[in-house]
Symmetry: C2
Subunit: 157 residues, 2 copies
Amino acid sequence: MRPAALDWSVENCTIARAMEILGERWTVVVLREVFNGVRRFDDMRVRTGIPRQVLTNRLSMLVERGVLRREPYREPGSRPRHEYRLTGMGLDLWPVLVAVLGWGDRYLADPEGPPLTVTHRDCGAEVRAALRCAEGHDVTEPQDVVPVPGPGARRRG
Amino acid sequence: MRPAALDWSVENCTIARAMEILGERWTVVVLREVFNGVRRFDDMRVRTGIPRQVLTNRLSMLVERGVLRREPYREPGSRPRHEYRLTGMGLDLWPVLVAVLGWGDRYLADPEGPPLTVTHRDCGAEVRAALRCAEGHDVTEPQDVVPVPGPGARRRG
DNA sequence: TTGCTGAGTCTGTCAATCAGACCTAGCCTG
DNA sequence: CAGGCTAGGTCTGATTGACAGACTCAGCAA
């Protein structure tokens, strides 16, 4: 059976566009750091082992794309510096990070368990990414999700 | 304030491990194709424009890592071939793909809207990735999620 | 004046990406 | 059974990116 997807163009696919930002080796690791509250160049570098040049590139790319912003700050007794903080666009990446974390925890963790969990501030219970439809139904089986062309779909030329 | 994360090692971080698989330029795009039902080498290549060599590499990497499997099939009147299908581990990437799609749709879509939506098979309503805690509370604000060291956490040496 | 520190830049090496040409197994047609 | 077609690749060479290690630079402090 010929997949229906073959009739539709992928030139404006938003997954591809998102992966142009997120799809470089270290980008998501940098975002993990920022979500964890690590906001300064050298802290990130020491923790992650990312080469300086690459970290510089990734951070400026993320600033340029609007995911992070540079925020000046000044600690008493040192000169003014800046740190990297999430913008609204960046904060909205939480579900992506949590989804990746959940998958990694399930298939790639060491036997003793994952090194990090995310919890709900109010009740302390573990937070996970779940799929839900606009009608409020939970979607647990992958087979229950059907991709369909959206408003911006274009036929292939 | 010094971030607590600095005390913890990241060597066994499951996000980093997941991104070793997902974090290459084309991997997620390949997965998007497979989730959309496009399972054959040439269909993918024509649709995505991925260079042959790279597509070969990505597919065999994904097979090797257990995300895809090669399935032989035979269409009447042609020789036996094989196609790529998701394993259980691969199917569990749905929440990741949907989360990326949701973010991309929100910030990177063309004005006329996203080219693809995912819907619930039963009711046809749009499916989105949401965060929920184990107690069943919905988590809508990024600030309501708190990262804490998990069972596999190691102090930094 | 010299030194320290956070946040870089510069340089050279090595690996990955990419485009484009070439190859190959099995089927089909003449 | 020779030749062609096609899906699914290899091979080759040019460009880009990752990486390590050394160097730079601004401002504070001794």
